[in-house]
Subunit: 364 residues, 4 copies
């Protein structure tokens, strides 16, 4: 009777499939190399987690696909993004396990592998794509396109997915639709610009005590700062920057992200602010994973100093920074100003961003 | 052409099996619960790592099965034990991922599970058994024996494995055979006992400055310490302690472990000393994993305060300390004495524990 | 000129004080033991982090001290609780560093210490107290009260802090004041009780297919479940349970915590739900830290198997579960029911928990 | 009485100094910013760990300073290197704590800081220098030399330390003195070269089945491999490579490192092999710390996309790979060959690398 439950665990977890999916090529070649088992299982664990990440993205992207994201959806969206972050965190530290394999052991079974390697996983390619890495932004693997070497089904899976908006596209769209920013009587953008001008004017006043080189230097710095800020105030400058790849996000999205960041305590912005933080966490964890992966490959196959020619290691190193997707959100910090200098929100706007309950209470 | 390599990765990693082994019961019941996927994949990752741990134990135990462990084997043995430690480390921190599942989500699909849970894994039972957890030392699960509820094959796998010595048995045997300890002219055990007597005699001399209660108290402490040490000097006392479960290891093994610990710098003891450290790391990581597992279950199903009756949580909590295997090695620290008080090794013994090369050089 | 900035870093970080605060007793005794430096610095890092935790608690508790917590305060409160969790996470994994110290090294300088040890820190006692560990709930250290051995200033600091409500008290109060639960026309508690009765009635209906022992067993289980739930429906039962220590929280607070958990997607409950999660994270991290600390002490001084008498290790082990503060929040999961069985919120209540903006939009 | 011990903990840990070394500039400026405390304490923890790392290096470098490293010293050397690795591991994950600080909070107190930042620590500069980062290999900070901005004492401390060999220099020297490699009858280097020629000759034989482009391509690859290996066989090629910065280590040291790696199971090589592994771990952890530091700075101050001009972030990014010290040891994996192709060690050599005890036993 009770037995039934245990049978259930074994069956439920698909252990018959799972525990028979490890086939060592070195075994088959009659020269069993102990560490090949670790190599296989390590990548299988990766693939299971990639499947989980894709499953979370399915749900998150479904919720972002409608024009208005339901306020109640913020909770599961934050929960699943946080889960993706925790999985990526584990993928980074999992490398500690693979690094117990001495390079000599790798050399011993490497001869029986094709070029199989963790970064050649179609699921990982799909994760990158779904998050927002565009085909044209990819570092080329050796001489072809990144999916030249994928088998037909995998290639198709990715191509099909490319027809739909990526998470980057969805977040850009969602940010762009943020209300509160551009009203009849209150234009966040003008207020923020004025605040910055006030700061800079203040600094110019303070230059009166300077003279000569010091004066000139400070004036130059102030002018440079003014120029910098114009990069997110000015439609044309932004369009240019988008053209040359400095910015990827739309101007509206960038401005909304800044609005959310600086007024993050307002009840309705607390969730979106957490969301932006989680997105930067995920971007940064992916980058750390890529860098750690490259270091591991360097340790195993020795590329870098003393060796010549392009290599898997070089490719991985080039992806570390080039495959980043949400750098725009990091760059935003460059446009923050001290809290004291922030323009106050008009009551009416602030009121809209509160809970019904609280405003009723205040009224009562 | 190039395609072949990529096909190889997909096939090599058994992805057709691996990525189709997730079947949500809530889906089947027509009430899909998103978080069930995480629950399944989380335990699948566990099972893959358990398979890896068993694979490492196969190799380690094979090397320990002969009467004399080859000196060259120390390197892979240390390497694989270290790998097991790193895997367990990851299993502990992986719990961060499962804890992104809210208890409400668990309640939602729990109704479709049997009693399936990570601690009901036959592979995990086997890992515990192989390390040295004896059937009779197990905390009973509810009212039966731990394997009552396992399916026939799994039950047999464990029974078959029980016929062979566990790692605990092998290490006990290997330690007991340590040379250098009991020689014609040098008996480590007598020297160590003398050293302790000297320390205690010194302390008795120092009591001359005391009187009254202070004197009495100090004399009592000294006597207690003398009694404590007799517990590893005296065969009969040790036999008694083994009887009542205070010690599990044989006297010879305990004494050898102490010898290895205090003279750990001698070349031939450096490896064995690392081995003992890794064994305590593994014991401690398993204990931490059990405790963290219990905390997670408490969070999910709420046992503890406010609930009645025995439960999975209670069972897990009782295993935390009761399923520890190598506590004897932790207890040894209780018998250490300061380095200055350690008896010097006779040159002849020390010489034997060096490398051939070094002694030749010294001779030259 | 530029120099000034660097001087600033050195001075800013107080390095003159910080880097001269390590005084090895073994050095002073003329018998320098290398590892004593690690022992000192390790605990200094602990003390710095404890100071940081207390600093965060100051801010959080200040915000909770007024009768109504400002909705805008939820953001920093969550942020600082999360910071405390991350610090505790680091304290747990920091133990990896101390475990590079062999027990023999500890024996070598231990003779020069008093009984100094990380758990004798007044700052840590204060953290426990501030979170909600009551004097009377503490496991006694050896034979006296926990602060018998503290110096006068530290004792006073703790006594003074005890006059103010702990975070536990504040959260209990804050939960008890949760609106929405007990209204004219909607009483959450009655709805929830009905939902449970419906579930149980359904199960009773299903027993019709059973007979004999199976029937009796199922009826018993159903009755037991009914009893269990009465523990949070019934004032008198709760009062009893509070008396005997099964529950610590007030009934109102428990009910509110359950309300927040099951309707956590409602905008106004998203923050409070995250807060409850963070509190359980902190409670669980503190427990893990205590357990890991006990394991480390066992490794260093060997208490447990083979040694007699009470000890620091035994004390630490007893604190692991006994010093937990927020177990009530874990126990709550015991009272959850599947989402489908949850009573729907009346529109009017749900409306109150939304943002002003959204309701306006819907109206428009 | 008992009190004395507790006073001792407070005094022993220097808490009077330690807990009064936090002075918030924002406080002093009358505009207290809560998160400045975290910023200060975070860097203080860094500095304490840097002090600990320097203390370990003192001991390790002292042991490496004599011409012959005592075999008994291998144990503490490995222990302390492992400790440094564990500390660096903690420094990497500590960043999780600082990332709980929102960029807005940083902007709020940044105005009161000079340019103070964790990477401007003289202790960290000293750690880098002591490990082997040469003055001339440093990426220039803005326009001056790295220590232009240090205060006089710190500058002097570093200059003084530069007079002594770095750990890199010591390890190069120690490797170069490895015995066993160049004997009358056995020259490792010739044997290894022959083994490689055999492999390549075998591959040439196998080309007989090829023709046309495939043949040409394979022949080219074989030739390229032959060229690659000549880079560590040939004195002149190595000298050239050292000149242009491809290799930093001496040829003798590189060859010895390879010898240790491929024959790592020999008793006398097990310790040295672990040492080389730990050195690569430390190098890789430092690199990961630098990269993570750069990501954190990018998040806080927003350099990168959308901003112009050189910056702290750019500087940090350039140090990530450029400040690596032991890349040569990673590059070595490039010169490994499968175990089956390894030349067997002559008995006489193998014998020298064993323990005295074992050879006696075998003789008996």
């Amino acid at each position: 009777m009770a037995n039934k439950n245990w049978d259930q665990y074994h069956d439920y977890e698909g252990l018959d499939k799972l525990l028979t999916a490890q086939n060592l090529r070195s075994d088959k070649a009659g020269n069993p190399v102990h560490d090949e088992m670790l190599f296989i299982i390590f990548h299988q664990v990766y693939e299971l987690w990639f499947k989980q990440i894709l499953f979370e993205l399915d749900d998150i992207q479904e919720r972002f696909s409608s024009n208005v994201v339901d306020d109640r959806d913020m909770q599961p969206v934050l929960g699943y993004l946080n889960r993706i972050a925790k999985i990526l965190h584990n993928l980074v530290s999992m490398m500690d396990i693979l690094e117990t394999m001495p390079p000599q052991a790798f050399v011993d079974f490497r001869q029986y592998l094709g070029t199989a390697s963790g970064f050649q996983s179609w699921q990982f390619r799909l994760v990158e794509m779904r998050l927002g890495l565009r085909r044209e932004d990819r570092v080329s693997v050796f001489h072809g396109e990144f999916d030249d070497e994928l088998r037909a089904e995998s290639k198709k899976t990715i191509k099909d997915a490319e027809k739909y908006p990526s998470l980057f596209d969805q977040i850009d769209g969602w940010l762009s639709r943020t209300p509160f920013i551009d009203n009849q009587d209150y234009k966040f953008w003008e207020e923020y610009r004025n605040a910055i001008h006030n700061i800079l004017d203040e600094r110019i006043k303070e230059t009166q005590s300077l003279s000569g080189d010091a004066l000139e230097k400070e004036l130059k710095t102030i002018e440079k700062t003014r120029q910098k800020f114009s990069g997110i105030f000015d439609k044309e400058k932004h369009a240019e920057a988008q053209e040359n790849g400095t910015w990827r996000m739309s101007l509206k999205a960038l401005q909304a992200a800044l609005f959310i960041t600086v007024y993050s305590k307002e009840p309705i912005l607390q969730g979106p602010n957490q969301l932006l933080k989680l997105i930067t966490d995920i971007d940064s964890l992916l980058a750390r994973w890529r860098y750690r992966h490259a270091l591991m490959v360097q340790r195993m196959v020795g590329m870098g100093a003393g060796s010549g020619g392009s290599s898997g290691y070089d490719y991985l190193m080039r992806t570390v920074e080039n495959h980043r997707i949400f750098s725009d959100l990091f760059a935003l910090s460059n446009f923050l100003i001290p809290t004291q200098a922030l323009p106050a929100l008009p009551d009416e706007i602030s009121q809209k961003m509160s809970y019904n309950y609280s405003s009723e209470e205040k009224a009562a």
